[in-house]
């Protein structure tokens, strides 16, 4: 057991890990400087606050994705879960006032746990389990929202949501503070708590983890449950921004989230997770999107940039790994 723990720890601190981690930060800095130099108003504090206001949902989805990639899975249902959570929360707020907002993370958590059971207990490949959940959650979101109509939050709760959305502390939007707080909490959970550390063990080698008596199934349920709950939290941010449950929202967001997690250094072979790098990656994607919309270049160029960044990050990782191999072999 000790050897396993130490290998996963070593993996995190391997040169390749540091490189792919730095990739996200380098991309973020390069994009920020590049756009600030090219565009006169891009570097203003107002725009920085604007980027912080918008990056929350993607960052939270990416953080959840990082947790499931840590245990060698991925979750393509997060966009649909986000949509369903926002609708259930909007409906709950109509019934119970602003405290109905808690329905969003609870919905996400429930669906995430279901994903975890499908993957961990029934051994269904993650892509099939979460694809089934994607279709199911999207269908349910359409069903309970009168065939895809926006569920508006009205009256006093609407004002409370908007107050949160416009609220600032030291000119940092509340939503960004919430996002940073969640990242910190997940980081502490993964690095400092036993259940979190176990996820690294499971991701590093599930069979070995099972042999040494780690509750592997529980680990899967935990990782997917966390991912679902974070999708629910992302729905909360969207609700505060728009004041409505959006049953058709979040299409394609799962891909951006996976991309952010990958740029943030997550390896699809499992066992690696760094919340800080994922935070940088999510910020980078938001900076690129914001910059492209500022510069009146088509927003679709953003997708090309993201695709290229993933490819380059992957290739760099591959090259360094081969270099390392030749070094160790000689």
């Amino acid at each position: 057991m000790m050897t396993n723990v130490s290998t996963t720890t070593a993996q995190q601190w391997s040169p390749t890990g540091i490189l792919s981690g730095a990739a996200a930060l380098i991309c973020l800095i390069a994009a920020s400087i590049g756009f600030s130099m090219a565009l006169p108003n891009f570097g203003s504090p107002g725009n920085a606050a604007n980027i912080l206001l918008q990056f929350g949902p993607l960052a939270l989805l990416a953080l959840g994705q990082m947790c499931v990639i840590l245990v060698r899975g991925f979750d393509i249902s997060v966009g649909a879960v986000l949509a369903l959570s926002s609708v259930t929360a909007a409906l709950a707020i109509e019934q119970f006032g602003i405290f109905g907002l808690i329905a969003a993370p609870l919905t996400g958590l429930a669906l995430g746990i279901l994903n975890g059971i499908l993957v961990g207990l029934l051994s269904i490949p993650p892509i099939i389990a979460t694809l089934g959940m994607l279709l199911f959650a999207r269908g349910l979101a359409l069903l309970i929202s009168n065939n895809g109509q926006v569920v508006l939050v009205t009256g006093a709760p609407q004002m409370q949501l908007l107050d949160f959305s416009f609220g600032q502390f030291l000119s940092i939007p509340y939503s960004a503070l919430l996002t940073f707080g969640v990242f910190l909490a997940v980081a502490i959970f993964l690095k400092r708590m036993r259940a979190g550390r176990r996820l690294f063990l499971i991701g590093g080698d599930p069979e070995a983890a099972r042999l040494v008596g780690t509750p592997v199934t529980r680990g899967f349920v935990l990782a997917y449950g966390l991912c679902g709950a974070l999708a629910g939290l992302a729905a909360v941010l969207i609700l505060t921004k728009t004041g409505a449950g959006l049953p058709t929202d979040g299409v394609g967001m799962e891909l951006n989230a996976i991309a952010a997690a990958v740029i943030g250094g997550s390896l699809l072979t499992g066992g690696v997770a760094s919340p800080l790098r994922v935070l940088f990656a999510a910020l980078f994607i938001q900076v690129v999107q914001s910059g492209l919309s500022f510069s009146a270049v088509s927003p679709y160029a953003g997708e090309v940039v993201m695709g290229l960044v993933i490819l380059i990050a992957g290739l760099l990782d591959q090259i360094t790994r081969r270099k390392l191999q030749t070094i160790t072999m000689h």
């Binding site: 279709l135 269908g139 069903l143 699809l268 499992g270 695709g307 072999m329």
Partner: protein, 333 residues
Amino acid sequence: MADSPGYIGRLRMVPKSLWVLVVQFAVFSLLVPNFFAVSNFENILRVSSILMLASLGQAIVIILAGVEFSVGSAVALCSIVAVFAVQSVSVPMAFAAGFVIVLVIGAINGTLIAYAKLPPFLATLAMLMLVHGVASLAVGGLPIEAPVSESFYWMGRGKAFGIPVPILLAAFGLVVHYILLSKTTFGRQIYLVGSNERAAHLSGIAVNRIKFLGYVAAAGFVAVSGLILTSRVASGQPNLIPNLPFETISACAVGGLSLAGGRGSTLQVLVGVLIIAMLNNSIVLLNLPTAFQLAVLGFVIIAAVVFQTTPDRFSFLSMRAAFAQKTKPQGDA
């Protein structure tokens, strides 16, 4: 695979998913009004031909222990290239251009995965975004219409020998796929590379070349499916069919292909596609809202896969362990 299976052995070799299909067919015939009719069968086959051909391509990649996420974007770019081209060249030439662009995307995927050694998931995800971005940039995000022409519509809406052309193409695709995988050296090598890359390498197979060619061959099937769809909708659209990668993967999984690679047959792909197509068709016949269609389809995909994997419950985890073993950097002490 046994050399001379007995009667029971033969029965066991029938994919489990085929029983699902048979039961589903019987139940739908009895319960769904208008389901059991030749015109409806023709309709199911015609509609499913696009998913069929794309899934045949996806199956090759899955047997190679890979996955292909960029099929939806490739089909979208195919439609845009074909519609752009038809404004200056003849219809066959335009379709040839659409066909070639998908092959090029397949070749890029193959290069990234076989030679640059990127994980298939990563490479095709990046290509999904890249190609979708390029397709959207080319048309500014909006669909472009093809000029009205009978020959442009023929592939998606026409008939030959009294049979709709898409059905003929799908049938042709099935035959080619079967021969390719079961009767050619290349096909058998695909299985070996997919099930054990190291053993394939040690037995003298050019693993990288097989992988590369596998992705190109897969793109060939996807290209035909893209052309049928382009002809049917008669327009080039960046968001033509974004869920195609997920639909094809689920069709393969429902048919019983192992996502761990190395196993699977043309018959299983056919069965998987038909299960999904019959389900969608019945939901339309029963006049249920689309929301139901999504929710039910999600449930069925999971149920079908659970049904087929229950006996060896933890096979998936041991597969992952094997995968980790396989992808561990060699020369590592």
